[in-house]
Amino acid sequence: MGHGSQFCHARGAKFLDAQRLTKTYRVGAETVYALRDVSFSALQGDFVVINGPSGSGKTTFLNLIAVIDRPTAGEVFIENQATSTQSEGQLAILRKTKIGLVFQSFNLIPVLSAAENVEYPLLLQRRPKAERQERVRALLAEVGLSDLARRRPNELSGGQRQRVAIARALVSGPMIVLADEPTANLDSKTGEAVMDLMRRLNEEHCVTFIVVTHDPAVSRYAGRRVRIHDGRLEEGEGDGVAASAS
């Protein structure tokens, strides 16, 4: 279903290319490096797990490749298009159409039901109502929440909320899903279930998943493992082919 399936034939095509990313912050008179000269590529259908301790730059890196933040230096290419020259509005369209996001705290809108939360990205894309309803129904079924579609987030468990968040990330048919510590607020069993789900969706939909985590247990789901330490990226074990540390 969705764009995932239609891109399955393109498995292995380079979708994301980050080149020599540097991100600095000013703390008083001092310049702090969150990321230093990081290059990274992701292929269609990859399942990449990025490990690293707290404060190592994982989330900063994720924000840059999600184009919700801009690097101090370097460039993020999405489908060979440079993003640094694009306006806020163009980046918003890019996020709306190509990128799905999953957050550590789920970030569901509390006044909307599970189904409405999943529907929200489709509204941003101005999809027709019938199509929205169909896709929401299918996605909720896929994450096993058909029966809880009308529940508000506060009526769901942590695992259920994260599954809603995953359905929301996938509903608009993105080419890549970026997940920031998706299991951090879940117990280990629920975390495993969520990771199983993401891995299954990655395989079935051919959607690239990049999961940032400090939880070593998540690494076993990786098709490719990358480590960030002190703002530098190191290629780890797995079948990754395009990561490099500068």
Binding site: D69, T97, I109, L112, L124
Partner: protein, 403 residues
């Protein structure tokens, strides 16, 4: 979904929303109440004005400009008939009345004082004599040698209903003339100085007293006072076509006090509107700022999913407008209830320009309700602009870090 989302967000923090709605509703109700009072005052005043002048008057221009010398600007009998005929052809005209005024002395064996006598056609078709607060007979019921005196004038003379008085004045040709009149009624007038001198008499009596068949003015009554300017224009055109050398004035032109009252009440209403706007704005802006900033993380999430800044901004504005609209509707209902209670209490008052006490009757119309409704919605909308703009401009990355 945008509407649904805004509505649900409005009722997310019920206590806060209840406070906002209370401020907005009370502001709307107070403003509406003020407007209803202003409307009642102006209505009473215009009725009082037109009650005395008629909707439209016809007279020699020198009369209107206070440049007549004695009785040299009277309307002849022939012209009176032509004017009355022309006026009667116009749509909405209730009737006509003739007026002839004089100044003279009034008294009895005990003494005399000044009188300003007003001779009027003894019908209630144009001037509504009840605006004079008459005790006893009105002119309609008065005989050819009967009249009504101002209450203060009667007191000064020491006469009452049923007593006879002597009136002395000059005829139109300047000769001395006098007559005896029986007092059949006493009137109250909004101005004490006028009440001390005023007397109403049948116009035929005054004509006989002054030895003339002329009148000073022709008063014309209209069903709808607002159509006085149209009637005046139609009469001016007819007079020009027929060569009638008379001027026409509307009640608005004759009642300068009404225009001043209108300006005063407009300023008063404007001040009330600005006060309500400020009250709603400053009360709601703080609440909305807190309410909106609490949702920083949600905003960041929607922005991360590709919602534009404009969409975020618009969503918050919609929420503000919704609070304003709900509060305003509650305010209108509240004001309607207050007005109903107020009217049921039948509080008496003497409206400006009138001498007749009457029960205050406030009325609310859709057009009256629209002004406070729009004012508070705009105030709420204005109070949501800054927090909405601030939220829409948030850095997504920083906002996502908000707990």
């Amino acid at each position: 979904m945008d509407l649904k989302l805004a509505l649900r967000n409005v009722f997310r923090n019920r206590r806060r929303t209840a406070f906002s709605l209370t401020v907005i509703a009370v502001g709307t109700a107070v403003f509406l109440f003020v407007l209803a009072y202003v409307g009642e005052s102006l209505l009473s005043q215009r009725l009082a004005s037109a009650c005395e002048t008629g909707a439209v008057q016809v007279a020699d221009d020198r009369v209107f400009e206070n440049q007549a010398n004695g009785y040299d600007a009277l309307i002849s009998r022939d012209l009176q008939l032509r004017v009355v005929a022309l006026a009667s052809e116009q749509p909405g005209v209730l009737g006509t009345a003739l007026e002839l005024d004089f100044a003279g002395l009034v008294g009895d064996a005990n003494g005399s004082t000044l009188i300003v006598g007003r001779g009027l056609t003894p019908c209630n078709c144009v001037p509504n004599y009840t605006c004079y607060a008459i005790q006893g007979e009105t002119l309609e019921g008065a005989g050819p040698r009967e009249g009504i005196l101002g209450g203060k004038l009667a007191a000064k003379l020491g006469v009452g209903i049923g007593d006879s008085i002597n009136i002395a004045t000059g005829t139109v040709s300047g000769n001395f003339t006098a007559a005896t009149v029986r007092v059949v009624g006493e009137l109250a007038y909004s101005l004490g100085t006028v009440e001390e001198q005023l007397g109403l008499f049948p116009v035929e009596f005054v004509q006989r007293l002054l030895k003339t068949d002329g009148v000073e003015r022709v008063l014309i009554g209209l069903e709808d006072l607002d159509k006085a300017p149209q009637l005046a224009d139609a009469l001016r055109a007819a007079f020009a076509a027929e060569g009638i050398p008379l001027g026409v004035r509307t009640w608005q032109e004759l009642s300068t006090g009404y225009a001043s009252s209108q300006s005063f009440f407009a300023a008063f209403s404007g001040l009330a509107g600005v006060s309500v706007f400020a009250l709603v704005f400053f009360s709601v802006v703080e609440i909305l700022t807190i309410s909106f900033l609490e949702r920083t993380r949600e905003v960041a999430t929607t922005r991360a999913f590709g919602a534009s800044r404009w969409r975020v901004f618009r969503g918050f504005l919609l929420e503000g407008a919704m609070i304003g609209a709900i509060g305003a509707v509650i305010g209108v209902l509240l004001a309607s209830g207050l007005v109903a209670v107020f009217n049921a209490a039948r509080i008496m008052w003497t409206p400006p320009g009138s001498a007749v006490p009457r029960a205050i009757h406030l009325s609310l119309s859709l057009s009256t309700a629209l002004v406070p409704l729009v004012t508070v919605i705009l105030a709420t909308l204005a109070s949501s602009v800054y927090p909405a703009w601030k939220n829409a401009r948030l850095s997504v990355v920083k906002a996502l870090q908000t707990v």
